[in-house]
């Protein structure tokens, strides 16, 4: 097939069009103009040169004619001359009057020299000249001028001219070629070279006279050859390579060639710069125009076309993304404009269709990729080309794993037998298949059962040689297995349960019963129970309840527990505890019940016995309690009366001591009075001790009534009273405000008063005294408060004795009190479930801490109190 010629770029066409269509002709015109100018100008120059050549030729002729005339005249004179003695004179006159001869001499008929002028001793008269060419020529009847040669007489270049004498001799003249050169030199100018050549090619005259001297033969020169052929004007290339323009002519005498020539450089040299200038200018302008049009073509035609071409290429190959809109830059060329416009329209249309196609393709791809069914497709090389996400999920092999694997089959079917089987199915099957199950081996090494279907045979898809879909049934199979296991377990449980199990339909008919139930109802076989109505196995007294329970179960779905007295098949009775559950079908519709029955006949008997024993026990407890109450009341009454009586006695003791001191003071000596004072004092102290004991006892017994207590205000209140009572004391008091706690208000007052009293008391010696009440950092579930003073303090070694009743660490004289306060405080705090402790050192002050549990975390002891979340949260939040 003949191949298409490869296309050429349009730019080149423009270039060639401009070059050949315009530049070349214009160059030709320029050349023709130059040529014509040169030719016409040349004509003038040539004419001028030819005139010169002719003039030179004429002067050469004149030279030769004159020389010949001189020779002939002299010969005539010699002929007429009778006296040979005058020969020398005539010759000498001839040579001197006419400078055309260097040497003149006469030879006789035998060729012997008769006379020579100027005389030469080497050539004396008698010298044999018969060997000379001109003598031979005469013998051979040849006349004319000889070739130039260096004269044997002068050594200068010469040519021989001779005339015959009547006596048979010859008059010989050696022409002065120098004289000829002088004739020619008269025409010399700085551009032209003029020279004369004889017919043998020897130079007779030339500006380079060496050439004449050296008998240079230029016969081979083109100018000589053509000159002798009659050319008047000619161009030729000289030996040195210069192009010459020559004019030639032949002399009449001697037939010599006169050449006048000049190199073209010399002739036209002066025209060349302006011509070159003009040519350069025209060329520059034209090249500028070419470039301008070239660029214009480039931007307005070629570039839009190239842009179109590129865009089309992008469109064709799809590389480079979306085909760009071609900017319509050129409005000068309608066709380009319309072409661009059409292209853009086409491009838009293609783009919108392409987008629709891509959308559709994307949707399809998304379906293929994301559908929860495995899709595997092979291309025509039977390589996997589609491996969707479900396939990836089911096998664990990514799309890349499969596509890049040299043998994906090997991956997913490690066993050759499996692969062979699959190949058989896939590649030799000549039809669709459905529901074929075979297992793939996943990346995790586990087998995954897949149910495969293919309609590739009936529904071929272009680009795919085979495709099939698979459903991963791994989960289903697991569920099946689990279900089977479950069923087995249930069966085992059913048959081996100790409790009786009955399946009963909604109508109450027993559907199935296990061995335990069979045993329970004393049947020979579980078939004996099947078909019986459940309700009939319950004693008539319980049947209504049983029916209610059944209704409840039907309604609620299950029955936790119920007890009936049942009838065995052999007429006996037994107690059963039962639980029931409603059985539902797939649609959650009730289909029956399952009852679990437990024989509780024995337990029932035991329970009855326990009930009886409990009743006896309660009776006895009640009796004992009432006895104890009586005893308590008696004890309290006793202690009260004892206390009261003791106080009465003590007051008597004290009173009478006072009377004795007042009334009988003078009857007693000092020692007696002192004893009495001691008695009185001891009695007072004992009374206060008894009061304290009573108080302590009360506190111990008192019922705690929780309420919100503001410890701050208790402290403020108490300290204000103290300040009023002891205005002389300088005490710096600092009470943190808002210390709320839930506790018994009156007991808390006792706590605070005791602690503050202590503080007040033990700071009596300090000026100024400092008492601080505040909250310490909260413990886990406790609120901790402190009372701090800068008083006497205590030795920490004895801190364990601080809270004992009637224990004092300080001298009773120094600090008043009975030593019961801290014991009370301890008791109250403990009763609230709290703790109390102290830190201090002697004379360094003391700090008493007590913590009370947060009430919010503890159930109220009474149950009628609202839990109050007070400072616990607030403290924890701090």
């Amino acid at each position: 097939m003949k191949s298409m010629p490869s296309p050429r770029p349009l730019t080149g066409l423009f270039f060639r069009m401009l070059l050949f269509g315009e530049l070349l002709p214009s160059l030709l015109i320029m050349l023709v103009t130059v040529g014509a100018a040169a030719y016409l100008g040349n004509g003038v120059i040539d004419r001028q040169r030819l005139e010169n050549v002719n003039a030179i030729s004429r002067s050469v002729d004149r030279y030769l004619n004159t020389a010949e005339d001189v020779l002939k005249t002299t010969a005539d004179t010699l002929t007429a001359l009778q006296n040979h003695e005058h020969l020398g004179v005539v010759l000498e006159m001839a040579r001197k009057n006419h400078r055309y001869f260097d040497v003149l001499y006469v030879i006789d008929a035998q060729g012997r020299e008769v006379w020579m002028t100027p005389a030469d001793p080497l050539y004396p008269p008698g010298f044999d000249m018969s060997g000379q060419v001109y003598f031979k020529n005469k013998v051979q009847s040849q006349t004319g001028i000889s070739e130039p040669f260096p004269s044997f007489r002068t050594g200068l270049p010469t040519a021989i001219m001779s005339v015959n004498l009547d006596n048979g001799g010859q008059l010989i003249g050696e022409l002065s070629l120098q004289a000829l050169q002088d004739e020619v030199d008269a025409w010399a100018d700085d551009r032209h070279t003029t020279y004369i050549v004889d017919q043998s090619g020897y130079l007779l005259a030339h500006p380079n006279t060496d050439w004449v001297d050296q008998q240079k033969n230029i016969k081979t020169w083109e100018v000589v050859q053509r000159g002798f052929q009659g050319a008047s004007h000619l161009f030729y290339t000289a030996e040195d390579g210069q192009l010459m323009r020559a004019s030639t002519t032949l002399t009449r005498q001697g037939g010599w060639l006169v050449v006048r020539e000049a190199s073209l450089q010399a002739v036209y040299g002066m025209y060349i710069p302006p011509l070159f200038g003009a040519a350069a200018l025209i060329s520059t302008i034209w090249i500028g125009l070419v470039i301008f049009f070239q660029r214009r073509m480039q931007t307005q035609v070629v570039q839009p076309l190239q842009a179109l071409s590129r865009a089309t290429e992008i469109m064709a190959t799809g590389s480079g993304g979306q085909t760009p809109e071609i900017a319509i830059t050129n409005r000068a060329f309608l066709e380009i404009h319309e072409l661009t416009h059409s292209f853009n329209r086409m491009n838009q249309a293609i783009l919108s269709r392409q987008e629709a196609l891509i959308d559709s393709e994307n949707r399809l791809q998304k379906i293929i990729q994301d559908m929860p069914v495995i899709l595997v497709a092979l291309d025509h090389n039977r390589h996997v080309c589609v491996w969707n996400k479900e396939a990836e999920r089911a096998t664990g092999y990514s799309r890349e794993d499969i596509l890049q694997s040299p043998d994906p089959m090997q991956l997913i079917f490690p066993h050759e037998a499996d692969r062979e089987r699959i190949r058989q199915i896939v590649f030799t099957l000549s039809g669709d298949f459905r529901g074929m199950e075979w297992e793939l081996t996943g990346k995790d090494g586990e087998n995954h059962p897949i149910i495969w279907s293919s309609i590739a045979f009936s529904t071929p898809i272009p680009g795919w040689s085979f495709w099939m879909v698979g459903l991963d049934v791994t989960l289903l199979r697991r569920i099946e297995a689990a279900s089977r296991l479950s069923s087995d377990k249930i069966q085992a449980m059913f048959s081996s349960a100790i409790d009786g199990i009955l399946f009963v339909d909604l109508g109450g008919q027993i559907q199935d019963a296990n061995q335990a139930a069979v045993d329970m109802f004393h049947c020979g076989d579980h078939q004996d129970l099947i078909g019986h109505n459940m309700i009939e196995r319950v004693i008539p007294a319980d049947r209504d309840r049983a029916r209610k329970d059944r209704a409840y179960t039907l309604d609620a779905g299950r029955l936790i527990k119920s007890e009936y007295r049942c009838l065995t098949m052999d007429g006996g009775e037994l107690d059963v505890e039962t639980s029931a559950a409603l059985l539902r079908d797939m649609e959650s519709a009730p289909i029956g019940f399952v009852f679990i029955l437990r024989d509780i006949t024995e337990r029932k008997a035991i329970e009855a016995e326990i009930h009886r024993l409990n009743r006896d026990l309660e009776q006895r407890v009640m009796e004992r309690t009432s006895q104890l109450d009586v005893s308590n009341r008696e004890l309290e009454s006793f202690s009260y009366s004892v206390s009261h009586d003791l106080r009465t006695l003590l007051r008597s003791l004290d009173g009478f001591s006072h009377i004795l001191l007042e009334d009988y003071a003078e009857k007693l000596d000092e020692t007696g009075r002192d004893y009495l004072k001691r008695i009185s004092k001891a009695a007072q102290r004992m009374a206060s001790l008894v009061d304290a004991l009573l108080k302590l006892a009360r506190i111990t017994r008192a019922e705690i009534n929780y309420s919100l207590v503001n410890l701050s205000s208790i402290a403020d209140h108490y300290l204000a009273e103290q300040r009023a009572a002891y205005p002389e004391r300088q005490v710096e008091i600092k009470v943190e405000q808002g210390m709320l706690v839930e506790a018994d208000a009156s007991l808390m007052e006792i706590v605070m008063e005791n602690l503050l009293d202590n503080a007040w008391k033990f700071t009596a010696a300090q000026v100024p005294a400092r008492i601080e009440v505040g909250r310490a950092a909260a413990e886990e579930e406790n609120l901790t408060f402190f009372v701090r003073d800068n008083g006497a303090g205590f030795d920490m070694n004895f801190s364990s004795k601080l809270f004992g009743a009637f224990q004092r660490l300080h001298d009773g004289d120094e600090f008043s009190g009975v030593g019961i306060g801290l014991a009370m405080v301890l008791r109250i705090v403990q009763r609230h479930g709290g703790k109390i402790w102290a830190r201090g050192s002697l004379n360094q002050g003391a700090t008493f801490y007590f913590s009370l549990p947060c009430r919010g975390t503890r159930p109220p002891p009474g149950g009628n109190e609202q839990p109050y979340h007070s400072d616990c949260q607030a403290d924890r939040a701090r």
């Binding site: 008698g126 044999d128 060997g131 070739e147 004269s151």
Partner: protein, 376 residues
Amino acid sequence: MKNKCFFFSLAVIFLLVSCWPQPPILIGFAGQLSGKQSELGTQGRDGALLAVETINANGGVNGRRLQMLVEDDLGTPEGAAAVDQTLIDKKVVVIIGHMTSNATLGGLKVTEPAKMIMLSPTTSSSELTGLDDYFLRVQSDTGMMGRVMAEYAYSEDHLRTVACIYDIDNAAYTTSYLREFERVFTALGGKMTASVRFSAASNPTFSTYLPELRQDNPQALMIMASGLHTALIAQSVRMDGWQTPLIGVGWAMGNTLVENGGKAVEGMKISQTYDPQSKNPAMIDFQTRFKERFGHDPIFAATQSYETVLVLAAALEKTGGSSTGLREALLQIRNFPGLQGNLTMDPYGDVLRTNFILAVQDGQFVPIKQVDPEQP
């Protein structure tokens, strides 16, 4: 398409390169071209020129043209040295010349240090024989010619006494010639009655030498000078009425001798390696072409210059136009077909060729005896 363009361009380039004139091979020529004794020089130049023109017409040497640069050495040693230097400066590969022994000796002072090969068509001084130098020639040496002539004079012409006049302006030639002639001639039993020397440059009047020459009445006069001076001496001898046989030397053999000698030189015997009447077709062809080209007959100088250029061209073919190895190539010339017979270079660059004894008869040189070279 691109390939076509490429090959087309390649072809054009090749064409341009092949058509582009390769630089010519420059060869120099130096000889006496002006003055009374210029015949040897101009003939030598014209012979060489004809050879160059012939070679160039046949395609040159290895496709390169020969270009001959011609210089006039004025026939003097000083002139020779000057023009040889000029030619060396113009980068010629070889200098053909000079035409006389004295000029050659002058030139060698320049060419030897420059290792420029000088290839002389006519220099025959035996002073240059057997030297391992850059001077080579296609001429037999004066020793050979002197010996041949001495043997001929003694044996054939039965001469026993010979007087001699010789030009000391070309002493290298004449004295060596004379020495060999005298050695052989006296060895044979002959006797040199007189040896008179003169200087051509001083335009001597030869009649003044005749008494000395005629003393002892020698049987023959041997003239060792250029053609012109041989003719002038011969004329002088004859005008003196002395009809003794004349013996010339190869140097004188030319048109100048017979033109100026006229009847005086009739019968003169000359020893030269040249036979103008050779029937060798190459020689006849050369003579024809030379006359056609220059309008007159060639003399030995033209013929041997022509041969010299042919030999040179053969050697240049081997060196590719370069002067490198040219000497060796020239020395390897064996049995080169010259115009007069085969040429063979000896290891010193001297040629072995046939010698002739010629006699002038009716203004023509007629060979009367041929002496072939002794093969080394």
